[in-house]
């Protein structure tokens, strides 16, 4: 009954949170040991979420609470453990981001905040995180100095997103198989030599038009292993050879988390659109999620993957409103060649942005597309620094992201609400200058 791969549905004490429901049948991914204590569960949390917390410069890291000076606070709220505020399987008390403590939980430690910040004296404790001013973990775009630094930025900046640089750094990537597939433009004759399977002419044309053909990636590159064994259907493990960072992100995000055998400790079938809790198109109910679901085998059209693929499944208000948004207008102009590359805003621009990733302590930088879609979401202020600020000022971005109606219309106009955080920072600055 408790064996690794047996069905343990009967033990589920309640509906699993939106973050974990895809992997709820892999109990062992969180409950890594039988009869484990809180530390073991904590390790499991950190195993998946630790890196992003570290990257977010977590404001309430564990070290803060293991510090003896905070022993009194620890007695009130044992924040050493994620599960103190994020109890799993408790749908009746689960709020956004899997939080299971009341919204005014900040009160427990910060009830005397008004003494330090008189401007906060009239504020209710359930607005700390709800109003768009603070987050418990990630305040990279919200801390005071940052607000001050960007307080005068205009709403619109003529910015531009990064472009791919894979070809220029390929020889520095340790896994990239340059010896077998040197970077050069390939023709149909190269393909015929490499192919070991029957296929239609569409496949040939698609490949010939793809960036793979332009970069020396022939049939064997994807369809065979290092031992020259032919596969008909290569999976993410095969893509990983060249696109290591992207696959890593894919496995961390909601599209690929079920395939992360290493962290789940067991193999689950790929995510199925019908299992999603977000609204999805009925026509896509049968679709499974692999690299090829969005990238389309043989064409590997990154422009199609950036919006068309998303809208093929996602059916929520925000997604449906995209086509009529000003972001989409820019994207269409970019595709039409009216605007330079990188100035349009696709779904991926915000949810899977291209970011600079350091390799070997700054030896080189890869402009990688972060395929973990939650890296810029939940809370959405995580999107401000890597995405919004490329084209917008901080104040505008904070207001827009706090405006739920605006999010539903996919930023169909200017923000209608205003978050006071920059104003407060400004007035405090003035006071200090006096």
């Amino acid at each position: 009954m408790l064996q690794l791969d047996s069905d343990k549905t009967m033990f589920l004490p309640g509906q699993t949170t939106h973050g974990h429901h895809q992997i709820e049948m892999a109990c062992g991914s969180c409950h890594t040991e039988a009869f484990a204590d809180a530390e073991v569960i904590q390790d499991a949390c950190v195993n998946c979420h630790g890196d992003s917390l570290k990257a977010a410069k977590d404001d309430h890291p564990r070290s803060k609470f293991t510090d003896p000076r905070n022993a009194d606070r620890l007695a009130i709220l044992d924040a050493r453990y994620c599960a103190t505020c994020h109890i799993e399987h408790r749908p009746e008390i689960t709020a956004g981001m899997g939080v299971t403590v009341p919204e005014d939980v900040c009160f427990l430690c910060h009830q005397d905040i008004a003494e330090d910040r008189p401007s906060h004296s009239e504020m209710a404790f359930n607005t700390c995180t709800a109003a768009g001013c603070h987050n418990f973990h990630d305040n990279r775009a919200l801390y005071e100095d940052f607000l001050v630094k960007h307080m005068d930025a205009p709403a619109f900046i003529n910015g531009k997103m990064l472009e791919s640089n894979l070809l220029s750094i390929a020889e520095q990537l340790p896994e990239y198989p340059l010896e077998n597939f040197p970077i050069k433009s390939l023709s149909m004759s190269d393909m015929v030599a490499a192919n070991q399977s029957t296929h239609s002419s569409t496949v040939e044309q698609d490949w010939l038009a793809s960036s793979h053909a332009a970069a020396g990636v022939n049939c064997l590159a994807c369809h065979s292993s290092a031992e020259s064994e032919w596969f008909d259907k290569p999976d993410h493990n095969q893509c990983q050879t060249c696109h290591q960072g992207e696959v890593k992100g894919f496995l961390q995000g909601k599209h690929g988390m079920r395939l992360d055998v290493e962290r789940l400790n067991q193999a689950l079938p790929p995510m199925h659109v019908s299992l999603a809790r977000l609204p999805m198109k009925a026509s896509a109910a049968d679709a499974e999620l692999s690299c090829n679901s969005c990238h389309g085998a043989h064409t590997f059209d990154s422009q199609a993957a950036a919006t068309t693929a998303c809208l093929g499944c996602h059916n929520d208000e925000h997604s449906l409103a995209y086509e009529s948004s000003s972001h989409a207008e820019l994207w269409r102009k970019e595709l039409a060649g009216e605007l330079p590359v990188g100035s349009g805003v696709s779904c991926a621009t915000c949810h899977m942005p291209r970011t600079e990733v350091d390799y070997f302590w700054g030896t080189f930088t890869h402009n990688e597309v972060n395929h973990n879609q939650s890296e810029t979401l939940k809370p959405n202020e995580k999107m401000i620094r890597p995405v919004c600020l490329e084209c917008h000022g901080l104040g505008f971005a904070i207001d827009a992201l706090a405006d739920e109606t605006l999010i539903k219309t996919n930023f169909g106009g200017p923000p209608t609400i205003h978050v006071e955080s920059i104003d407060l920072a400004r007035s405090r600055l003035k006071e200090q200058e006096k």
């Binding site: 589920l12 039988a34 009341p102 009160f107």
Partner: protein, 663 residues
């Protein structure tokens, strides 16, 4: 009020129209007499003439077979004369009516005497149907219809050595039984596949035949008589298979034909019988027809009960008094063949779509219910069935029979729960009545024979019923003292505890899907930590386990002698109080949230267990106020549910604790 009381009494007036001319009933058989009786009772002012053509005072034809068997004399079956003389304006006339003058509204008898009527009722009955068989008109061949037939047969009965009865229906069997005497050999010959073909199914018919065989009546089924040989008296009959059966008497009981000659010559509508509507009127609104001579909705009924129903309806309509209408009858027959009761109602072996048949069989009993859409449409019973009168009523009013009653019928042969006395009687003598003190039925019978006549006396003498008390209703039945039971010891605290547990359970429904959590941390006491802190959950969970375990001791009490000195009622109160405590702790542990999957299974089993316990305690505490039969039913039901619901709990709880620590 006073004004009303001071008014003089109104003169008693008749609520019905008294006709100047008499109402004439032609036919003084049982149905005609029934109508006569009804009319004289309802409308004493109305003059009524009832006419019979048998040159005898009216008698009860149904009892002719008793008379034939020598169990009744004519005076006894013609006791109707009292009724005849009771009406001041009514009388019996022996006359043979030949014709009806509908224009002049009068009837004429064979002597030319004219009787004027206001309303006329035909109750002319029927005559035996005699099939055309070679030699059937010879001496020694009889029918069995009227008093003359009965007298002839009674005379024949003395000298007959072998009587053959043609026709294995109701009348044939009765005639055969009536003819039985000393060494008279009797053979029933019937062309159907079993006896009483219309009333019984194959199995019941076969059982009846073997019972008759034991009583000396041989049944030859699926056969017939092709010829009667006589010299000039009957010598033998030839059966359909060619066999010759020596006999000296042949009784033909092959059915009846309605007497409709009078109606036919008078131009009334007829089919097989005189056609009537639901008020029993024929095609002439002033002429009614009832009994075996009439045909309603295409059916002619050949037994007396529908005739009585028709007579009652006709009586009401004869004086324009009623809105009741005749809607046809469900035929029911009951026959007693010396010790063997045979009963049949409606369709015995229906082939209609949707009819389900349920059969209960034992050595002496065969019972079959035919049910269509939950309503009884047919009953066949061999052997005594005390419920029959209520079953007949269920069938008549088309009462819906719930599935559990059918289940009970299939298990026990009874549709309704039987009364305690019968239940006690049915138990074998070695059965244990009081489980707590191991007292058998034999011991209790000894005590009651020695004169113990109350539950208390039996208790004093044998300790029976002094434990949990669940056998007290049964002891009551044994002592045949049906006074209400004395209240259970300590029934008041038990009632209070049980009510509290039921109230607590009601809060589960009230708070569904569970108690709310706090939506703020700014509280003096963080009560929702009862359900969010693992430590608190463990404390409440194990407390609940401890309370439940202590509560289980109540079942140890019966098994350990060591506890026997303490009274069971104290244990029971203790158990109920622990039950309330357990429910309170359950609230602390779960907030009355039902949970999911395994937790849901555990929670629902536990609450159902508590509910059954609570209900049982209420029944026990109120035992002295409820009908003892109900007490027994409720107590046994809730006790069984309570005990059975206990069983899955250790497994569910074990898994619950295991998974809590495992994950």
């Amino acid at each position: 009020m006073f004004a009303q009381a001071s008014q003089p009494f109104h003169e008693v007036t008749t609520a019905y129209n008294v006709e100047q001319l008499p109402i004439i009933i032609i036919g003084a058989g049982p149905v005609g007499m029934r109508l006569y009786e009804q009319l004289t009772r309802r409308y004493p002012q109305q003059s009524i003439l009832i006419m019979g053509n048998e040159n005898r005072v009216p008698y009860d034809r149904v009892q002719l077979s008793s008379m034939l068997a020598g169990n009744a004399r004519f005076e006894e079956i013609s006791s109707l004369s009292e009724t005849l003389n009771s009406g001041r304006h009514s009388r019996f006339v022996s006359a043979h009516i030949k014709s009806i003058d509908r224009e002049a509204k009068c009837v004429v008898d064979n002597q030319g005497i004219v009787y004027a009527y206001s309303k006329l009722v035909l109750a002319t009955g029927s005559r035996p149907y005699v099939p055309e068989i070679e030699g059937i008109d010879r001496p020694g061949v009889y029918t069995f219809r009227n008093i003359r037939d009965a007298e002839h047969l009674a005379a024949r009965r003395i000298s007959s050595r072998h009587t053959v009865v043609l026709g294995g229906g109701l009348l044939g069997i009765e005639a055969a039984r009536g003819m039985q005497r000393h060494n008279t050999q009797l053979t029933l010959v019937d062309h159907n596949s079993h006896l009483m073909f219309r009333q019984l199914d194959q199995k019941a018919g076969t059982r009846l035949a073997s019972e008759l065989q034991q009583q000396g009546i041989t049944a030859v089924i699926s056969s017939g008589i092709t010829a009667v040989h006589s010299t000039p008296r009957v010598q033998s009959v030839r059966l359909r298979n060619g066999e010759l059966l020596d006999c000296d008497t042949l009784i033909v009981a092959t059915g009846i034909r309605p007497n409709i000659d009078l109606a036919r010559v008078s131009g009334l509508a007829f089919g097989r019988g005189v056609q009537v509507d639901s008020t029993m009127r024929t095609s002439d609104p002033d002429i009614f027809a009832i009994g075996e001579c009439c045909e309603y909705d295409g059916r002619v009924y050949g037994v007396v009960a529908p005739g009585f129903e028709q007579a009652d309806i006709a009586a009401q309509h004869l004086c324009n008094e009623s809105n009741n209408h005749y809607r046809g009858s469900i035929l029911s027959t009951s026959l007693k063949v010396a010790g063997l009761a045979v009963f049949s109602l409606g369709d015995a072996d229906p082939s209609d779509i949707g009819v389900r048949s349920y059969v209960y069989e034992s050595d002496a009993i065969y019972r079959r219910l035919n049910i269509l859409h939950g309503r009884i449409v047919g009953i066949v019973a061999i052997g005594v069935w005390p419920e029959l009168s209520s079953l007949r009523e269920y069938a008549r009013i088309s009462k819906h029979i719930p599935p559990w009653k059918i289940w009970r019928f299939r298990q026990t042969g009874d549709l309704d729960s039987i009364d305690l006395v019968t239940q006690f009687q049915r138990l074998p003598v070695e059965a244990t009545i009081c489980n707590c003190n191991a007292v058998s039925k034999a011991r209790i019978l000894e005590l009651t024979e020695d004169g113990a006549c109350s539950v208390e006396q039996i208790g004093v003498l044998s300790n029976a019923g002094t434990g949990c008390g669940s056998c007290r209703p049964m002891l009551m039945a044994a002592s045949s003292n049906l006074d209400p039971l004395a209240p259970q010891r300590g029934y008041k605290p038990l009632f209070v505890a049980a009510s509290m547990s039921l109230l607590l359970l009601a809060t589960i429904a009230l708070f569904y899907p569970g108690a709310p959590y706090a939506d703020t941390v700014q509280l003096e006491w963080h009560w929702d930590e009862l359900w969010t802190s693992e430590r608190n959950k463990q404390i409440s969970g194990f407390s609940l386990l401890a309370i439940s375990t202590i509560g289980l001791l109540v079942s140890v009490r019966k098994r350990l002698k060591w506890f026997a000195n303490s009274h069971f009622s104290s244990w029971r109160i203790g158990h109920a109080v622990l039950g309330v405590a357990a429910l309170l702790m359950l609230a602390v542990h779960t907030g009355f949230r039902l949970g999911n999957n395994l937790n849901l299974a555990l929670m629902s089993t536990f609450t159902a267990l508590a509910l059954m316990g609570g209900l049982m305690s209420i029944f026990i505490a109120l035992e002295h106020r409820i009908d003892p039969r109900q007490v027994q039913l409720f107590r046994t039901g809730s006790l069984w549910a309570h005990v059975l619901l206990c069983w899955p709990i250790p497994a569910l709880l074990g898994l619950h604790i295991l998974k809590t620590y495992y994950f």
